[in-house]
Structures are given as C-alpha cells and as structure tokens.
C-alpha cells in the first residue's frame, strides 16, 4: 500500500490510543509553536497577569488556518495565538492590515453560533476593548525579549515577533490554557471545516483515500525536528520545471492538476509521521540531517529498531560481564537464548499479520524531503529477519569499557568501521554523513529483506582491521569485532562458531591462529619485563594479511628472544606455546601452507578466537586448562606449576 495511506491508517490507530498532552500528535488544523509570553485573562476578557515562558514550557499547540500554517511572507493570521505584530493594537510601526485581518478572523469565530467558545470570546473581547499588549509587555519589563535555551544561550527576539499565548481563568474549569482545552480545539477544527466546505473550487479526488473531498492547498513542514522546513509534499513549479508538460496549472493553483490530497487526510498522515519520528528520538548530527529511518507497526505496538546493534536491542540487561562463563563452550548459544527471550516479548505483542513499515527520509535541499526507502512487511517476516540478522552476525563486540557485548553491530557501526576517517591528527574517527547515509541505505535491505551484505563492505572492513597501525587500540578492538561479525554472517553457510574451532583446517583460519599465538608469546614476554609496546605480530599484521607465508618467517624469527625470556622464567608455559605452535603448524602443512596469497577475512576469525582462547585458558601441570571464572580477567594467572 502506498506510504501515505499507511500513515493515515497509523493516525487512526494513534487516535485510538487516547493520548493526551505533549505525547499526542498535533490535531488537525493545529500546529505546535514556541510561544514567548503567556497572558492570563478572566472569563470576561479582563487582564489578570502576564509572564515570560521558560524554554521547556514554551511549545504550544495553536489553531491555524490553512493559509496561515503555510505562511512565509504573506500576512495570513493565525486565530487566537499570534505574534505582537498581529495582536498588539499599540505596537509602533505595525502593519494595520495584520491586526485588522486577525480581529476579523477572531470575530467570525467568536460570533459563529455553532462553533463559538467562551475562551475565544474572552480573548477577542480583551483585544478589542483593551488590546494594549505592547504597553503591558513594556510595563512588565519583558521587552526586548530574549529566549534562553537549556545551555543558557540567549537569543533576542524582535518585538513584533514576540509570540503570545493565552490562559483564561474560569471558575470551576481546571484547564485554563487554550492549548489544553479539548473543547476549544474541537471547536476550531469544526469552525475551520465549516469555512471550507467542499465546493466546486476546492474539491477533487483525494489520492490518499480515493474520495472526493476538500483538497489541501499546502502540506505540513517540521516533520523531523521543530526547525525542519522540508516538506514531503510540495509544489513550486512556477520557477522550476519540475513536472509540467501535460499539466498547465497557473499560479495559485500550481500542482492541482497533477496531484491532489485531501486537507484532513494530508494533515492526519503528516501528524502521524511527525509523531512516529519524534517517538524514535530522531536528532540531527552536527547540525546536519542524517537520513531518517522510521520503523513502525501500523497498530503502534512496540517493535525492535532494525538499525540498532544487539546491545541497544537488548538494553542494559545484557552485558558480556554477566553472560555465561566460557565453560559453557560456544557463548553464542547463550546469546541466542537471551536474544530469543527479548524477541519473545515483542512476538507476544505483534501478531503475525501485523503491518510493519520501514521508511527512509532524507532531503537534498532544505525545502523538500524525499522518500528514500519504503518497505512493508508482516510482523512475523519482520521479526524473523531481525532475529536472523542478529544471530547470523553475532560476534564478540568490544566498543570500549562499558560496551562489550555479544551480538550484531548496527549499520552505523559498520559504516564507521569501513569508512571512518581521521581529520586532523588527534581527532576522532568520523564518517562523512553522506557516506554514512549511503552505507546505511545499502545495509538496510540486508537486515529488512534478508539480502546478503554487500561484499565490498566486508572487504573494506577487513582491510581496515588489518591496517592496525592507523587505529588506536580501542578502535582496533571495535573494528575487529565488526569485521568478524560481517565475515561470519556473510559466510553463514560455513557455520563459524564463536569459540575456537581446533578442528577447522582452512589455511586462513590457521594463519589467523598463528598470528594470535605469536602476538601472545611476545606480549607475555614483554609483560615479564614490564615493557609496553606493540608486538611484531601486530606491527606486521597488514603485511601478514597480504603475504602470510613470507611474513610469518619474519614474525617467527623475531620471536626467538622472547621465547628465551619466557623459558628463563616459566619453562612450562613456553612448552605450552611450543606445543600449540606445533599443533597449528602440523595442520597448516596439510592445507596450502606455502601459497603466499592474500588472506581473506577468515583469518580474523581465527585470530580473534585464538586470542579469546588464551584469555580463557592457563597452563597447569603440563596441560592447558580452562581458567576458573574468577581468573578470567586476571591475565597474570596464565601459568601455575
């Protein structure tokens, strides 16, 4: 079904949830606006008090007409709440027209029999009889007005732009604010509709519902953030040359021949979209709009975010520290268990036939927004795919001290691993936002449709990890985990286990293990002498991945002094290392040991697993044995006689 129909359907479902206050989507014919001052009146329109609004409370739902909601440079007034240039009769240098039109509109509303409301009458009476708002503001030292954001930054507001909202105190009515009064909101919606009854002029086929209704002249802005001017539906073909041809619209009517959407339908769909985006906590990065992916169930049930990594998916309850001990063998199994538990929670809520929509939004220019991705799935399909992604691509991830987990990386992480650059010497690794957008878009079909991951991303990430010199240690660890999970997921048919597979005899895997072993021996020896520097193995990793056979010779030769060092102190431990070296060597001989061709990402799996294995094992009485749970973090306990 088309995206706009789905949004409309969603808005109906949201309506059923009976939300109130700031949680609910904007009502039809209303927008949210930041007000600056609040004027409190009595029920007869008598002035009581005035105060400036703080940043947090300033967002106010105000009624609008269709033309005022889309006003840019024209004078169309909002009813009720307005800027001083419209509602202050005594503002110096004001445009007379604005006040006149504003009062006219208020009069029409207040005097209409069916739709009038005591609060409207109160405001109208105040403005007509008194209306010296400018003087009142001056008296209360509110001008010149400055807004203060939570960080304490002050922004001055022009006098005429100061926005006023109203409270009307009536005895026995708790909601004094005009934005809180449901009956007032209702009365404006009805009044506005009565002013725009469908007639020959404004009626046509709604391309959303297929009904013949009042057509929207303009559509909503502010979809992603409150300062987002981009519209999904817009038309400005008087200067451009976007769509004419068989269409011959003239000014004021531009776009009506090509496309018509009902006023109410359009507003409800847009309001639902805004609500969904806000619920996913979308925010700009470095003041730029990143591609926004909204995923939702039409019936508004909670669903997992396809763009989250497993840690975010499972939430805080899942940390590598409290997972099962390595004694359990393949830790992947325990991950799967926890994951399924969480997934079961979603499954319980989402029926198999539930409609799930994934939609991507982005804008190339500030004024317009494009749909960059659209996909509909059933609930069971969606959860299956999510499950498959997280289990196929799960690996040990180490994103830093508090972020160690078992699971799949997010598309963002993958983009970071493949393409992040350092601009300036000591800066962080960052991905260009356009590249990030493009990569996430390429990865999304892999998650949502179960398509294979683009191969170049896998190769790029493996290359990045192999080039260890360009990475800080923690960056290397993060990239290693991501590259391993990509490779493992891509070659899912090879069934890589998340623990060391001693039986696996492929060349690349064994070379990876050798590298980890060399790394371990040298690290151990350096540790004995309390030296802190990178090992030969880590320095030669890049060369090793390109020419393993010839590089291994260098690495092995360089190991000699370190072996001597260990032999002097812990001969038993060295025996253990030698034993392993021999074991891997003997296996690798039967594989294509001497072919000096480039290693695939598989060697990273061998490397990572072997390294993990060292962390979990110690040498005791001529045997490698599993460390007890307490020892796992204690690297000094590698050896006991």
């Amino acid at each position: 079904m088309s995206w706009i129909e789905k949004l409309y359907e969603t808005s109906v479902e949201i309506g059923k949830m009976q939300l109130s206050g700031p949680d609910r989507p904007w009502p039809v014919s209303h927008v949210a606006k930041k007000a600056h001052v609040e004027v409190t009146l009595g029920s007869k329109g008598d002035f009581r008090r005035i105060r400036a609004l703080s940043f947090d409370e300033s967002l106010t739902i105000i009624p609008v007409t269709e033309s005022s909601a889309n006003r840019t440079s024209n004078d169309a007034p909002h009813p009720l709440c307005e800027e001083l240039s419209y509602c202050a009769a005594d503002l110096p240098n004001r445009k007379e027209k604005r006040f006149k039109e504003f009062i006219e509109l208020m009069d029409q509303w207040a005097e209409s029999e069916e739709f009038s409301h005591p609060k409207v009458k109160a405001v109208r009476n105040y403005l007509k009889n008194d209306g010296k708002l400018y003087t009142v503001l001056c008296k209360n030292n509110l001008l010149p007005f400055k807004t203060v954001n939570p960080k304490g930054k002050k922004t001055p507001v022009e006098d005429k732009k100061v926005f006023v909202r109203w409270c009307i105190e009536e005895s026995g009515k708790p909601h004094s604010g005009t934005w809180e009064d449901e009956s007032l909101i209702e009365s404006w919606i009805n009044f506005d509709a009565s002013q725009n009854m469908p007639n020959k002029e404004n009626q046509s086929l709604c391309m959303l519902s297929g009904a013949s209704v009042r057509i929207a002249k303009g559509h909503h802005r502010f979809l992603r953030t409150p300062d987002d001017g981009a519209k999904l539906l817009s038309s400005n073909d008087l200067e451009g040359f976007t769509f004419r041809g068989r269409f011959t619209d003239v000014k004021n009517d531009s776009g009506k021949q090509a496309c018509t959407v009902g006023y109410v339908e359009s507003q409800k769909a847009h309001n639902a979209l805004r609500w969904l985006i806000a619920r996913q906590k979308y925010h700009k990065i470095e003041d730029e709009f990143v591609r926004c992916f909204v995923t939702w169930a039409v019936r508004c049930k909670p669903i997992p975010d396809p763009c989250a990594n497993s840690l975010d998916f499972l939430g805080d309850e899942f940390k590598i520290n409290d997972t099962a001990t390595p004694q359990d063998g393949d830790v992947g199994q325990s991950f799967a268990l926890r994951f399924n538990k969480k997934l079961a929670g979603y499954k319980a809520n989402i029926s198999d036939t539930e409609d799930i929509v994934v939609m991507g939004l982005d804008s190339a220019t500030p004024g317009r927004m494009a749909i960059t991705y659209y996909r509909e799935l059933t609930g069971s399909e969606f959860l299956e795919r999510i499950e498959k992604w997280h289990s196929d691509f799960s690996w040990f991830q180490n994103y830093g001290r508090d972020k160690r987990f078992l699971g799949a990386p997010s598309p963002k992480d993958i983009a970071w691993c493949s393409y992040a650059k350092r601009i300036g010497e000591n800066s962080e690794l960052r991905v260009d936002i356009k590249l990030l957008n493009a990569t996430v878009e390429r990865l999304l079909p892999s998650i949502v449709d179960g398509r294979p991951v683009p191969r170049d991303l896998i190769e790029q990430s493996v290359r990045r990890v192999s080039n260890r010199a360009g990475l800080e240690p923690w960056e290397f660890e993060k990239c290693l985990g991501i590259a391993c999970s990509l490779f493992k997921g891509f070659y899912n048919d090879r069934r890589y286990s998340m623990a060391l597979e001693e039986e696996r005899t492929s060349r690349d895997y064994l070379y990876g293990r050798l590298l980890a072993l060399a790394d371990q021996i040298e690290w151990r020896a350096l540790r004995l002498a309390n030296e802190k520097r990178g090992t030969t193995a880590s320095r030669l990793m890049q060369r090793f991945s390109d020419r393993p056979f010839s590089t291994w010779k260098n690495i092995e030769e360089a190991l000699k002094p370190y072996k001597d060092r260990i032999r002097a102190k812990y001969p038993g431990l060295l025996d253990g290392y030698e034993e392993l070296l021999d074991a891997i060597h003997s296996k690798i001989l039967s594989a294509n040991y001497i072919t000096d061709t480039r290693l695939t990402g598989e060697y990273l799996l061998g490397y990572h697993c072997q390294r993990q294995w060292f962390r979990d094992h110690k040498r005791e009485k001529g045997q490698w044995i599993l460390k007890s749970a307490d020892d796992v973090e204690n690297q000094e306990a590698d050896f006991e006689e």
């Binding site: 297929g210 200067e239 220019t365």
Partner: protein, 256 residues
C-alpha cells in the same frame, strides 16, 4: 508461437533502473517510484515499439521477474531559468551486488502482454484498419527492439524489449499469493482515445497475484476514481498526414 489472438504481443522488458513516479512525489520534484509499473508507463513502452493513431494499445498484464529493490540517487535537475536544483530520486532496481551471473546483476525485469485495438474515435483512419498488417509491423518492430527509445517510467531510465513467452521462466514473486499496493495511478484518459475533450487521470487498487499484475481495462476503471485534470483537444490525424499501413508493410516487407 503462442495461442493468442492475432493482435497480441508478449515481450520481455528490462533496464538498469525504473522510475514509475508516484504522483504525490512528482510535483515536489523528489521523485519516488511506485513498486510496480503503471498501465500508462507500459502503454508508453508499447507505443515506443509501434504506434499509429489507428490503433490503441491495451495492456493485459505484467509479470514481475526480478525482486523489487529501490536505490536512491542524488540528482541535479535543471530549472526552467537555466539554474539547477538538487533532489533525491528513488529508483526501482533489481541490482544485486552478490549475483554471480554478471548479466543478471543489474536492473528490473518484466514480462508484458499487450494487444492493440482499433481506435474507434478516429473515423478518418478507417481505411487504415487492415487486419494482420499492423500486427506484422508490430511484431517486426518488437524483434528490432522497438521503433523509438524504450524507457521505464521516466526518460532517465533506458529500457530494452525483446519478444518472449509470457509466463515462461522463474519470477521472484511466483510463490506469493497477493500483494496489494493501495490506491495507485492507472493511466490517463486522453481525448483522442475517449472522444471526450477532457483529460482525466484514472486510479485503481492493483494487486500483484503470484507475480502477475492483471490490468483493469481503462473503460472498466471506476468512474469515481477518475480525476478531472483539464480540458484538452486532440490532434487530428487523417490519411493525408499518415502513411497508410499498406504502403508501410510493403516497404518493410513484413508480409509475404
């Protein structure tokens, strides 16, 4: 070859990209494609293969062969005043990065079945309605890949045609019972084919069943789902400004 009436052609239609613009996104300029081709787009393809004012192409059905995927491209469309703007177009593509067969890596692929009927509104060309001859030319033109450029929805998306047998081979959606697409654009009612001097846009609720989209005939589309666009006068074609089909078949040598 196949058991269809002597006015039906069946062809394979493919290209790297397709953009069957959703009219909602058309006016803003950030074009986004429908997931399935529209009737009007396919009619345009048939017209590119062979067209004369004597005939009207009617699209019977389209079968989706390659799995539908989308890809966005940043574009820099020209504006009327010579400057440019920036936009993001969302295309359909079947591009598969992991496909081993290089020839199948790119694009969308459809099978189309269409037939032509006499344009009853054009009385001046009654003499041109010769059974068999138009069909012979259409078939020849299809074998040659069409008379004019074939494109998939939008001129940016070059397409290619080739005769095929409708329903042959595997399709990505063969196993899926039904996919609905909601209210969607069907085509335009042009005055030269309806005889009414008005332009209408037709809408319908398409359903992809087992990979096949069977089109409603234009005159069977629901009248309440028609949108009046504007008044329009057709161009007149007669025997004096059109080459007769007899001459053309002879020139081309398509009939023995």
């Amino acid at each position: 070859m196949h058991e269809t009436a002597k006015n039906t052609i069946e062809f394979k239609l493919w290209g790297r990209f397709a953009l069957f613009t959703d009219p909602l996104t058309k006016i803003g300029g950030e074009k986004c494609s429908y997931h399935v081709p529209t009737y009007e787009a396919l009619k345009g393809v048939c017209k590119s293969i062979y067209w004369k004012p004597t005939i009207i192409w009617v699209i019977d059905a389209v079968r989706v062969i390659r799995r539908i995927r989308t890809q966005t491209k940043g574009t820099k469309p020209l504006e009327y005043n010579g400057r440019n703007t920036l936009a993001i177009y969302t295309f359909l593509t079947g591009f598969d990065e992991n496909e081993k067969d290089v020839n199948r890596k790119h694009g969308v692929e459809y099978q189309v079945r269409a037939h032509f009927e006499w344009n009853k509104c054009n009385k001046l060309l009654e003499k041109d309605r010769v059974d068999g001859k138009h069909f012979a030319i259409a078939k020849r033109m299809l074998e040659l890949g069409g008379r004019q450029d074939v494109f998939l929805g939008t001129r940016d998306c070059q397409g290619y045609v080739e005769p095929c047998i409708f329903g042959e081979g595997e399709g990505a959606y063969d196993a899926i019972d039904e996919i609905g697409y909601g209210l969607m654009f069907h085509g335009f009612d042009y005055p030269d084919e309806t005889g009414i001097n008005n332009l209408y846009a037709r809408f319908w609720y398409p359903k992809l069943k087992k990979g096949v989209l069977t089109f409603e005939r234009p005159e069977n589309c629901k009248p309440e789902l028609k949108k009046f666009v504007r008044e329009m006068v057709p161009k007149t074609f007669g025997t004096e400004n059109i080459k007769s089909v007899d001459v053309e078949t002879e020139e081309l040598g398509v009939l023995e």
